[in-house]
């Protein structure tokens, strides 16, 4: 009421749009774009009846960079650094999806050693991503210490990942037809040393957080998503696997290296936040298994195919779709080429985008603290949603 006297209409376009469906006796609250629980610049408008969330609507676009347009104005290999910046958590997954799409379009055969290196580095990157999520999620639930322990391990993993990729966050070490650097002896040695250390840390995480009664009571039965809901929203990744859908792109799309290794797809059937949590904790262990086996089976050979495309290389005409299991779900790159050095169309399928679209339904009727917990359990990386 004061705002109208001041000549200010309350809220912006999205607020007014949201208010159209609101009840008279409720409070509309903007969580974000600057809010501790939204991990970046996501904004969620919620309609609250007391502490109960009646409706929620995520508002996106605060970190929109139009990567798909950049894909059309940069040559195919020049776009690789961009893919490392779509999702800061699991940059190599995006790297792989893009170079995979180009390789599939051109029909390139990637050297086997390069494929192994891709598997190893992507899995290390997946663990760093899950550790980041684990810390941030427990922070959402009010436990401040776990993130520090997670970052302790994550820093070691980033040191390791820095050896082949040269950077600590926005890795972009995959190239069309291979990878840019070979694994050093030191890398292999350090990873071998680190795996048992990490295996010792995981029980500590379990005792400190997973088994904690407060956390279990906060997550069990909260934000239940059933399999049908996952399908309707295109939810993938650990979120879908927490709802009993045993869908992992690593298995579903027949990745040659993964098929030769002994590992399981982590699945839980409860569909609540705790199931999503446990799936990710299991995945860290599975990733360690994969890394260990892949290191043991690492073949010798070149890491980049002969005649790997140069900057001004013209891709053949046609289209291709390549999907990778990212830390957050199915990363897909749809590439259409008209035979030029630029892509005619690049579509980046972001897992977080689809996962977040289910949030409005999952959060309906929950208490505000649960809404925050569900948001955290989806493992959102905002730059990936906005692209």
């Amino acid at each position: 009421m004061h705002y109208e006297q001041l000549g200010v209409t309350e809220g912006d376009f999205y607020n007014r749009n949201f208010e159209k469906g609101a009840r008279e006796d409720t409070m509309i609250l903007n969580l974000g774009p600057q809010h501790p629980a939204t991990h970046g610049v996501l904004r969620v408008i919620v309609e609250l009846d007391g502490e109960y969330v009646i409706r929620a609507e995520p508002v996106l676009g605060y970190l929109h960079r139009m990567h798909e347009k950049m894909g059309e104005v940069k040559t195919l290999s020049q776009f690789i650094p961009n893919t490392g910046r779509i999702d800061y958590g699991h940059a190599l997954g995006w790297n792989w999806a893009f170079v995979g799409a180009v390789e599939r379009l051109a029909g390139f055969e990637v050297p086997e050693r390069a494929q192994y290196i891709r598997v190893i580095t992507t899995e290390i990157n997946r663990i760093t991503s899950h550790l980041l999520w684990w810390g941030a999620f427990t922070l959402d639930l009010g436990a401040i210490t776990p993130i520090m322990y997670a970052f302790d391990d994550r820093e070691h993993l980033l040191d390791i990942l820095q050896m082949p990729t040269g950077s600590r966050l926005t890795h972009s070490s995959f190239r069309i037809g291979g990878v840019c650097t070979d694994l050093s002896e030191k890398f292999i040695e350090t990873v071998r040393d680190f795996i048992p250390k990490m295996r010792e840390r995981l029980p500590m995480y379990r005792d400190l957080v997973t088994d904690n009664v407060i956390l279990r009571k906060r997550l069990e039965g909260v934000g239940v998503m059933d399999a049908d809901m996952c399908r309707r929203y295109g939810v993938t990744g650990p979120v879908a696997r927490g709802s009993g859908l045993a869908y992992d792109v690593r298995q579903a799309e027949h990745f040659p290296i993964y098929e030769g290794l002994d590992w399981q797809v982590a699945v839980r059937t409860e569909g609540d936040s705790m199931a999503r949590y446990l799936v990710r904790m299991d995945e860290m262990e599975q990733s360690l298994n994969i890394i260990e086996q892949a290191l043991a089976a690492l073949p010798a050979g070149p890491v980049l195919m002969k005649n790997a495309p140069k900057v001004l290389w013209k891709a053949p005409k046609g289209e291709s779709y390549f999907a990778v299991e990212g830390a957050r779900g199915k990363i897909g790159v749809h590439l259409v080429s008209n035979g030029g050095e630029f892509a005619y169309k690049v579509k980046l399928r972001s897992p977080c985008f689809s996962n977040l679209s289910a949030y409005a339904e999952a959060a309906r009727g929950t208490i505000l603290a649960d809404a925050v917990a569900i948001l955290g359990s989806l493992d959102l990386v905002i730059p990936e949603i906005d692209r």
Binding site: H35, G50, G142, K217
Partner: protein, 326 residues
């Protein structure tokens, strides 16, 4: 000189006591801020404050200087009177709570017959300040924080009272000094041995009443940004901060007096035993905060209504029954 002689010595006693309390609270807030940050740091395997002074020992002073230097900011459409009354109301009742605190055999500002009652009564004012702060800041997060405070504090005062009543019945007094006198020097002579359940209930309620993690819902950072003090800047925030730490000292002190034998201990009785026990409890407060996640609002109330109140009532009835029998 005749003028001074005309002042009743009681009054001088109280004035000196109040000044001493203020100094005590001020120093303890600074020490606790440092201890908490250092403790959090070491639990998380980092150094904590390190740059200001040796091992960051001057960090609380620097923080205080920063807070004092900041602009005091009243949000648009806030109620300025209530808005600025709240932080004042948060700090001053807490100072009064130290009046009947039995630091040592003679080191008490004023022995009050109904000391326990006085502490419980004035502690209730803290809720009012939190509620006013949330309400007056014209902020939705603040409002939610205020609503949470009221239901949380009101609910948790019941088991707290019931737990305290057990001791009061057992010792037949509401005077804290008398209660301490009634306990022996050795740990097995303390009330915690006869009333372990009351001690646990008191401890849980103490966490809730002081808004400390895992019950820090009114200022739940990840949900309500900063809850009731979202809009406070500078010393307005600083006073809430002070009140929180002063409250911690008070509940630790009361807990020590009621359950842990107060100033009594093996060897020579005295203030040091009281302070050692208070610091141990404060360390527990800090330790717990950096270990657990936050409970949810309905769970918080469920713990209270479904567990603490029935248990406290049963405990009280049992105590009364046993006292009648023996």
């Amino acid at each position: 000189m005749t003028f001074l002689a005309a002042i009743p010595s009681e009054l001088i006693h109280i004035v000196i006591g109040m000044v001493a309390i203020m100094a005590f609270v001020g120093i303890h807030v600074l020490v606790l801020v440092y201890a908490e940050r250092k403790g959090a740091g070491h639990i998380q395997r980092r150094p904590g404050p390190f740059e200001v002074g040796p091992h960051g020992i001057l960090q609380p002073l620097a923080d205080a200087g920063k807070l004092i230097g900041k602009q005091l900011f009243t949000p648009t459409n806030a109620d300025p009177i209530l808005f600025w009354m709240a932080p004042v109301l948060a700090v001053f009742p807490v100072l009064l709570l130290f009046v009947p605190m039995p630091f040592g055999p003679v080191v008490t500002v004023q022995e009050v017959n109904l000391g326990l009652l006085l502490i419980l009564a004035f502690a209730g004012i803290g809720v009012l300040s939190t509620m006013l702060a949330g309400w007056a800041s014209n902020n939705k997060f603040g409002l939610l924080g205020a609503a949470r405070t009221v239901s949380q504090s009101v609910a948790y005062e019941i088991p707290l009272l019931l737990a305290v009543l057990c001791i009061a019945f057992q010792k037949g007094s509401l005077n804290l000094s008398t209660i301490v006198e009634g306990q022996g020097s050795w740990p097995w002579q303390w009330n915690i041995v006869t009333q372990p359940l009351a001690f646990l209930i008191f401890l849980v309620c103490a966490f809730a009443e002081t808004n400390r993690a895992p019950f820090d819902l009114p200022e739940a950072e990840s949900e309500l940004t900063a809850g009731f003090h979202t809009e406070y800047s500078g010393m307005g925030f600083g006073m809430f901060f002070m009140a929180e730490y002063a409250n911690m000292v008070v509940v630790s002190g009361v807990c020590t007096a009621l359950f842990l034998g107060g100033w009594k201990g093996p060897g020579i009785d005295g203030v040091w035993w009281f302070m050692i026990k208070v610091y141990a409890l404060l360390a527990l407060f800090i330790w717990v905060r950096w270990t657990y996640p936050r409970v949810r609002f309905d769970q918080l109330l469920n713990i209270n209504w479904k567990w603490l109140i029935p248990l406290a009532t049963l405990n009280l009835l049992g105590t009364v029954f046993l006292m009648k029998v023996f």
